[in-house]
């Protein structure tokens, strides 16, 4: 790191301490490594020549009070610990409750988090191995604590939830076996339609999968959130930091883009004619509609029976 950036970071640390309502009597030297790590992680890693103004702006947008509180906790400041526990117990409990199936599990999870934060294990240098060292100060401390809770909850409960999902997934798997050449669902297809449809479906689905993979990351994320995770547009918009209407417009554009990409793949790489491609889109879509209707009617009949 060159001297110019070091000076910049040093000055930034000074400004951060000055604007903190309670800087916990920390010095620049204590703060500097943390700020440096955050700048490297979020700015210099992507662009080593990040303009100085951008670095200064980044530091000035950091959460001064939250960062000072966490560093003071790491350094064993009892008052800081009291403040941390007092201010964020409700946050941790709320996050644990939303990640747990019952109150007892939530309480256990919350306790585990405090233990992780306090650092019951010791590092090589004898200091407690606390998770606090990973808080950069870029986002809010409450948000970071929620993320810590959510991560721990996912790690603990993921296996369990997988077991629960397996049965549900098996139904969806039946719908998704088209690419592998399996009949779709319910009604038995006639020989003619099964041959042509399967061929068309397999081709279109494979090309679509490839086209989705080629989308820009932001568009791909929206497709995953909306079609794979079944989020509503408003929820997907919140994740992407855009309004619901923007997400909707973007999704419409993506659908048009994907159609063009799929057509191109089928024509250029698979040797289909444009007419065949168009016909396949219509047939596959119609067939999917029929499949869904027959699936639903069959399930309704099963329930009645």
């Amino acid at each position: 790191m060159n001297t110019g950036i070091e000076n910049l970071l040093n000055e930034g640390a000074g400004r951060l301490l000055a604007r903190a309502a309670d800087n916990r009597s920390l010095s620049r030297d204590v703060l500097l490594p943390r700020i440096t790590a955050a700048v490297e992680k979020y700015l210099l890693k992507d662009n080593a020549n990040t303009p100085h103004a951008e670095i200064s702006k980044f530091i000035d947008e950091m959460q001064a009070d939250d960062l000072c509180l966490i560093i003071a906790c790491e350094r064993g400041d009892e008052n800081a610990w009291s403040d941390l526990v007092e201010r964020f117990t409700a946050t941790v409990r709320s996050a644990a409750r939303s990640a747990s199936s019952n109150e007892d599990a939530a309480e256990d999870l919350a306790q585990s988090i405090w233990a992780e934060l306090y650092g019951l294990r010791a590092r090589k240098d004898g200091m407690p191995a606390s998770k606090l060292a990973y808080y950069s100060g870029r986002g809010s401390l409450a948000g970071w604590l929620r993320a810590v809770v959510a991560q721990l909850a996912v790690d603990v409960f993921r296996k369990q939830s997988r077991l629960v999902q397996t049965e549900e997934d098996s139904d969806l798997e039946r719908l998704a076996r088209v690419v592998e050449g399996q009949p779709l669902v319910a009604g038995i297809p006639t020989p003619e339609e099964s041959m042509s449809n399967r061929f068309a479906q397999a081709g279109v689905q494979q090309a679509l999968h490839q086209a989705v993979q080629e989308l820009p990351a932001e568009d791909r994320l929206l497709v995953k959130l909306y079609y794979f995770d079944n989020l509503r547009l408003r929820e997907a918009g919140v994740v992407l930091g855009v309004h619901e209407a923007t997400a909707s417009r973007r999704l419409t554009r993506i659908q048009t883009d994907l159609r063009k990409r799929v057509t191109k793949i089928l024509v250029d790489e698979r040797g289909w004619t444009p007419a065949e491609t168009e016909r396949s889109f219509v047939e596959v879509a119609q067939h999917l509609d029929t499949d869904l209707e027959s699936l639903l009617s069959k399930e309704a009949a099963d329930l009645r029976g």
């Binding site: 992507d46 870029r138 970071w144 929620r146 993320a147 790690d155 791909r220």
Partner: protein, 374 residues
């Protein structure tokens, strides 16, 4: 055709979405850490880092699940998106707000009524007949003030009236109608010398004109509105003696006439009696006192305005609205007891205080964000 295209792709993508994603990695180090997840969810990352993490999230269902969970807790509203939308200029917004259907719905009929009323007033004022001014005197209860110097103008005030607040009230009671009197077209003047006017009522309803017929009877403090315009202008709480009524016809314009000073001002005893009579008649008729009406009004105002946790709220349409609320800004809607609500109040306990204090729907502006709590 375009719609069909969209539907086809929509169906195909839904089919694709049912396929189970292969996890990117089972190694924890390959996933986003808590700091990266939370800063992404809070939209607090620089563009470069955000793009890097977006690419990961597009492939990693585990991290995506966490970010979705955190985003919903944070309730981040599209700050960047809002910033990118160019806002119309202030005057355009003002014009737009003036011509919204909601405003026009009430404004157009109201404007029509105002125009009709204005035309009516102009026409009536032109054709108004001679104004009758009644003056009622009561010699028994009052010592008549020597009718000495003529009143040069309606603004003249006797020194006695200037000294005494009661006198001033009396003067106001007698002067105001003069100011408000229609053009002086030879209206007979009937002025009560025994007019017992309470200060409050005189200020509130300062028309001392009396009709002779009705002046013969003592009336309750709050007289019921009469059918004729003249009667409707009677002071509500004027007590008129039966003893003597003198009617003077004013045949010349008032500004040209030198009024004789027959006005009688109540002495302290008369004023006390007037208050007593007024109180009794108020009690008898059940009509509320002016002061009590004011108190009721202020109660109603305070019932619709509350201050909780340093924020001021007004109740409009059953919703408690923060006075700092700006309707042009996006709001986050929360339901009491929901996960998102619990997450919010865990971070901001003051919002819980507000939500507990105020029933029903609340719109609160907190740290620059607007929350609609149901």
């Amino acid at each position: 055709m375009k719609e069909e295209t969209k539907n086809e792709m929509d169906l195909l993508l839904r089919r694709l979405g049912r396929r189970k994603e292969t996890p990117v990695s089972n190694v924890a180090a390959d996933h986003l850490d808590a700091d990266e997840l939370s800063t992404f969810a809070e939209n607090a990352l620089p563009a470069g880092a955000r793009a890097r993490y977006t690419a990961h999230l597009a492939e990693c269902s585990r991290c995506r699940e966490l970010v979705v969970q955190l985003s919903s807790a944070v309730g981040v509203v599209a700050a960047t998106d809002t910033a990118n939308v160019s806002k119309p200029s202030a005057w355009r917004m003002l014009l737009a707000s003036l011509f919204t259907p909601m405003v026009l719905r009430y404004a157009v009929p109201a404007l029509g009524l105002i125009v009709v009323a204005a035309i009516g007033v102009v026409v009536l004022r032109r054709n108004q007949p001679a104004q009758m001014i009644t003056r009622v005197t009561n010699n028994e209860q009052h010592t008549p003030v020597p009718a000495a110097e003529p009143r040069a103008s309606a603004g003249d005030v006797s020194p006695e009236a200037m000294r005494s607040p009661d006198g001033l009230a009396d003067r106001q009671a007698k002067n105001q109608p003069v100011k408000a009197a229609p053009p002086p077209n030879a209206a007979p003047v009937v002025k009560s010398e025994e007019t017992e006017v309470s200060k409050d009522a005189a200020a509130a309803q300062p028309k001392p004109d009396q009709q002779t017929a009705s002046a013969n009877e003592p009336r309750p403090a709050k007289a019921a509105p009469s059918a004729t315009p003249e009667e409707s202008q009677k002071p509500a709480d004027t007590e008129v003696s039966k003893k003597e009524i003198r009617t003077l016809a004013a045949t010349a314009p008032r500004s040209d006439r030198a009024f004789r000073d027959e006005a009688q001002r109540e002495d302290k005893g008369n004023f006390a009696r007037a208050r007593k009579n007024k109180a009794e008649s108020s009690e008898a008729t059940g009509a509320p006192d002016t002061a009590s009406v004011g108190s009721l009004h202020s109660d109603a105002v305070s019932a619709n305005t509350r201050s909780v946790a340093g924020r001021r709220f007004q109740k409009k349409g059953g919703v408690w609205i923060d006075t700092a609320y700006d309707s042009s800004k996006d709001s986050v809607t929360l339901t009491r007891g929901s996960e998102q609500y619990r997450a919010l109040v865990a971070d901001e306990p003051a919002i819980k205080t507000i939500a507990d204090e105020l029933d029903g729907e609340i719109i609160v502006v907190w740290k620059g964000r607007t929350y609609r709590i149901r």
